[in-house]
């Protein structure tokens, strides 16, 4: 009976006696007899730790796509970046791992200050003055940003660029069923959003929120200014979903006119993790701070005047506002935010730029190599891309992924797995089926990319 329970048999008797009980079953006297399970749970018997670990290791072996076995060219919102030993050692400290929401700031300054530093870094990346303490992930941040935008503009029509990661758009549609927002996908033209004319919209269809990717999920650099002009005309809020690594080279979305910047924080120190836990980045212009979802850490002093940190603007939160709250998110991803803070501390001013630069170099090298292959074509024309790009191959993308895996590569994502076999209004079914989305991070060497290009040439014939 392996477990983590400290009670000895003698102590159990002693404690039951103290309560005037003679058996553990009597503790559950309040549970109606008819409802009780009356049998053991039909689960396997408990196993000692070494057995469980061995089994989990063997399940890990069954994952062929692990990044220590297949060279990773997959992106789409999750990237194979360097996470150095120092980041894992610090963020993995059990004080950060096994604490909870800092309800008692006197004994939670460690997490609070780390999150304050995280907020500062995210605000600087976004080019906006305020960042929250993080949300669940990029998609969740997007949903919350749209809710904020609708509340601030008073209009429920949301124009979402089809350059937003397709799964995020799907999540947005799911939650719109509850909020009643009207979410319209705006198609891409050659990899860039082709916004409709505002004047052609009926008044009640004027957008309250515009959402744009930067770079978008196909890797293309979008024109934030064009979206900003529509927002200025209509009073809509501009939400930009930005990649935090690309931020190392790109003008910040805040500087380009975003009201809200969201992003997937995974590239900042979080392992690929098969999709989670990640963290949502969320920054806003000053005037929207009272609508900020999730937790926020602020600096203050203690009663001796010593600098201290505390969660603040709590009046926004649902334990106080209950049904009037505009968000139901009552936690954040503190641990992932600590990873991000340590990672950005490790990279520093020069390192973040260097990572972005290396991603851009590797992407260009890979893109040029693949474009030179017979039958391989770019899917987004000549539009500049930064750290990933989409191609069309002569064979279905899913088949290419299987063949590339046999040769030692996770060769990107099949576009059909993101937008379905029928495409999504921007890319037709034929492009979706034959499309591959390929990302190159700073971890990819020239030799790896050359091998990948050669292998692609072989498998797509």
């Amino acid at each position: 009976m392996p477990d983590y329970l400290p009670h000895t048999e003698d102590e159990l008797v002693q404690m039951l006696t103290f309560l005037g009980l003679s058996s553990l079953d009597e503790l559950f006297a309040a549970v109606p007899e008819a409802l009780r399970l009356g049998r053991g749970l039909e689960l396997a018997d408990g196993s000692p730790e070494p057995d469980v670990l061995a089994r989990m290791e063997s399940l890990g072996e069954a994952n062929r796509a692990r990044s220590d076995r297949l060279v990773c060219f997959a992106g789409g919102g999750a990237y194979d970046h360097e996470v150095p030993p120092v980041v894992r050692a610090l963020a993995g400290r059990s004080e950060f791992v096994t604490s909870y929401t800092p309800y008692q700031p006197e004994v939670a300054q460690g997490c609070l200050q780390a999150v304050f530093e995280f907020q500062t870094m995210v605000a600087r990346l976004a080019g906006l003055p305020v960042s929250n303490a993080s949300l669940y992930d990029g998609a969740n941040a997007l949903v919350e940003a749209v809710n904020l935008g609708v509340a601030a503009s008073g209009r429920q029509t949301v124009w979402v660029s089809a350059g937003i990661q397709p799964h995020w758009r799907a999540v947005l549609r799911t939650f719109a069923a509850g909020t009643g927002h009207e979410v319209l996908d705006i198609p891409l033209e050659n990899g860039r959003t082709g916004w409709p004319m505002v004047t052609s919209q009926a008044a009640d269809e004027t957008p309250g929120v515009l959402v744009l990717g930067y770079p978008n999920y196909l890797g293309c650099l979008e024109d934030i200014g064009a979206a900003r002009r529509i927002c200025d005309e209509t009073g809509a809020l501009l939400v930009v979903a930005a990649d935090p690594v690309a931020a190392g080279l790109l003008r910040s979305p805040g500087e380009c006119g975003a009201d809200v910047v969201v992003g997937e924080g995974q590239p900042l120190g979080t392992a690929l993790s098969f999709g989670g836990p990640y963290l949502g980045l969320f920054a806003v212009a000053q005037k929207h701070v009272r609508r900020l979802p999730g937790r926020l850490v602020g600096e203050t002093v203690d009663l001796e005047g010593t600098r201290a940190y505390v969660t603040t603007l709590r009046a926004r939160e649902q334990d106080i506002r209950r049904e009037k709250a505009t968000s139901n998110v009552c936690t954040n991803q503190t641990l992932m935010a600590v990873y991000a803070a340590v990672q950005l501390g490790w990279l520093g001013t020069t390192g973040l730029r260097e990572v972005a630069l290396r991603c851009a170099r590797g992407t260009r090298f890979c893109r040029e190599g693949l474009w030179a292959l017979d039958g391989v074509e770019p899917l987004t024309g000549a539009t500049p891309t930064l750290r990933e790009f989409a191609i069309r191959t002569p064979i279905p993308g899913r088949l290419a992924i299987e063949r590339l895996a046999d040769e030692g590569y996770l060769g990107g994502l099949a576009l059909a797995d993101l937008i379905g076999d029928d495409g999504d209004g921007s890319l037709g079914g034929d492009d979706a089926v034959h499309g591959l989305l390929i990302a190159v991070t700073e971890r990819r060497t020239k030799a790896e990319v050359e091998g990948f290009v050669r292998t692609m040439d072989k498998v797509v014939r």
Binding site: N328, G348, G351, R353
Partner: protein, 523 residues
């Protein structure tokens, strides 16, 4: 080595250790020695020109930035971040960690949060390259191990809750709540019904009503009766066919089992509504009674509570949602599934016919899910039952022991947690629940949850969890008794704590003069 240079490595330095002074043998696990020096921010430690990053040698062509990024997109200066050495970085975050209380350091009896011990095994599992190193966009053929983990976890959670199927996508409890409400919505719509109201007891967590609003429903609050349970008559008075369902936590937030649950379920089902189970308190009933057998249709679980995945300073969690048979076709997709014999692969994914859609970018908080499966495998069915028994035993021991020092508003056997009250202490001596919690920090324990549930005056909500020993319980109870005695003796507690890394913080100032970043600090 100790901070004051105590001399001998591992040599019995006992500074600050508090012994239980109760039962013979064993001792309280709470003995924090915490950093009292304020730590500068990383930005203040920065020295331009210093760095710590090291990246792989790639041999890539070294194109210049202006050959890669069009001028109109290029930033002029790098994003300003801190510039520190690796040694500075390590010192900084290590010192910060010393200013942070945690379960590993001491008992954390924070009611409603289930701060049990988090097995280290699960950390190792979450770090396995075969799990942590897998890209989420990998197709099923390349991620069979992960899909098997998901399928096995789903099956185990369904057995524990008595439900038919589950989605593992929701990233946290609140995300699970909203997912559950959208399932409720899809179910009613599929029957051509548009219902508008969801019932919530007045003792519920604040996330419940917030989730109801975002699910497109209106909240109807029903009061608790004098026994602390849902007032059945009041519930019946608000029931009609406009009610989409009810959200219940059972045991409820007072730590009490809703004894009328069968009658409640029958009444809700009679008007065509659904029962939603908030799994916040599932730890109390593992292997004893199951939500599905109580009549619930939708159940969310907090894996970071019940299944011991670490809380991470306030996340990540995971909030899977299990449903009864009639709701399976609405579950979010894609769902990991075991494929029929004869298929090329053993595991795949499918999207249910009338799915509400995705609620997560990928598959959910996968590494949290893997930790939970490892925890379940160590315990097995019997082990889970023992978890519930010890959790309930510990809470009742605390209730019985402290009933002479504190008010117990509902003094009958509780489940996994007990709600005490400092109302008498406040009335007689001016000592508030907040003061009690703050003073307790100086004894090396985290504070209980204070002022929740809202329906109890000066509430002190204690959830010891099953992983604390009798010695720890005795030390915790002794500390709380001595605090009550101090209050009675006129010791002023409004300035406690004094020995923590910082004293009470000025929350009003934080909100009034908002400083959310280092850059917003007044010069």
């Amino acid at each position: 080595m100790t901070a004051d240079g105590g001399g001998v490595d591992g040599g019995g330095v006992d500074g600050g250790v508090r012994t239980a002074g109760g039962a013979a043998g064993g001792r309280a696990t709470s003995a924090p020695i915490m950093g009292s020096e304020a730590e500068p921010t990383l930005f203040e430690l920065s020295q331009p020109g210093r760095s710590s990053w090291q990246l792989r040698t790639t041999g890539m062509p070294e194109w210049d930035v202006d050959e890669l990024v069009p001028a109109d997109h290029r930033r002029d200066e790098p994003v300003p971040l801190a510039e520190v050495s690796e040694r500075d970085l390590v010192g900084h975050f290590t010192r910060l960690s010393h200013r942070q209380f945690s379960v590993d350091l001491g008992a954390y009896p924070l009611g409603s949060c289930t701060m049990k011990y988090n097995p280290k095994l699960c950390d190792t599992v979450a770090g396995l390259p075969g799990l942590a190193g897998v890209h989420p966009g990998a197709p099923p053929s390349l991620s069979q191990g992960w899909l098997q983990i998901f399928v096995e976890l789903e099956e185990a959670l369904c057995e524990v809750t008595g439900m038919a199927a589950a989605t593992l996508q929701p990233a946290a409890g609140a995300a699970g709540e909203l997912t559950g409400l959208l399932l409720m919505r899809a179910y009613h719509q599929s029957r051509g019904e548009s219902r508008h109201r969801v019932i919530i007891p007045d003792s519920a967590h604040g996330t419940n009503p917030a989730s109801v609003t975002l699910g497109g429903y209106e909240t109807v609050t029903v009061p608790s009766d004098e026994r602390g349970c849902v007032d059945l008559a009041a519930l019946r008075s608000v029931l009609d066919t406009d009610v989409a369902g009810i959200m219940l936590t059972n045991p409820n937030t007072l730590g009490l089992f809703e004894e009328d649950i069968e009658a409640i379920a029958a009444a809700i089902h009679e008007v065509g509504g659904l029962l939603y189970y908030d799994g916040a308190n599932l730890n109390a009933i593992l292997g004893v009674v199951r939500p599905g057998d109580m009549g619930f249709d939708i159940v969310h679980m907090n894996l970071h509570k019940t299944f011991a995945t670490p809380h991470g300073g306030g996340g990540p969690g995971a909030g899977p949602v299990a449903v009864s048979r009639r709701l399976v076709e609405f579950l979010p997709g894609p769902r990991p599934v075991r494929l029929p014999a004869g298929a090329t692969l053993e595991y795949g994914t499918m999207t249910p016919a009338r799915s509400i859609g995705r609620v997560h970018s990928w598959h959910g908080n996968a590494l949290v899910l893997a930790r939970a499966l490892a925890y379940l495998e160590v315990h097995g069915g019997d082990g889970l039952r023992r978890v519930a028994e010890r959790a309930v035993l510990n809470a009742n021991w605390i209730r019985r022991r402290l009933r002479d020092s504190y008010d117990v508003p509902f003094d009958r056997p509780c489940m996994h947690e007990v709600v005490l009250s400092a109302a008498s202490l406040r009335k007689r001596y001016g000592t508030k629940a907040l003061d009690v919690g703050k003073r307790l920090l100086e004894f090396g324990f985290h504070s209980p949850t204070v002022y929740f549930p809202l329906i109890v005056d000066e509430a002190l909500m204690i959830e010891p969890t099953e992983t604390e020993s009798l010695q720890t319980l005795e030390a915790l109870a002794a500390a709380l008794e001595s605090i009550a005695a101090e209050a009675a003796a006129g010791v002023p507690l409004s300035e406690a704590p004094r020995t923590t890394p910082v004293r009470r913080v000025d929350e009003a100032r934080a909100a009034r003069s908002l400083v959310p970043t280092f850059d917003a600090r007044p010069l």
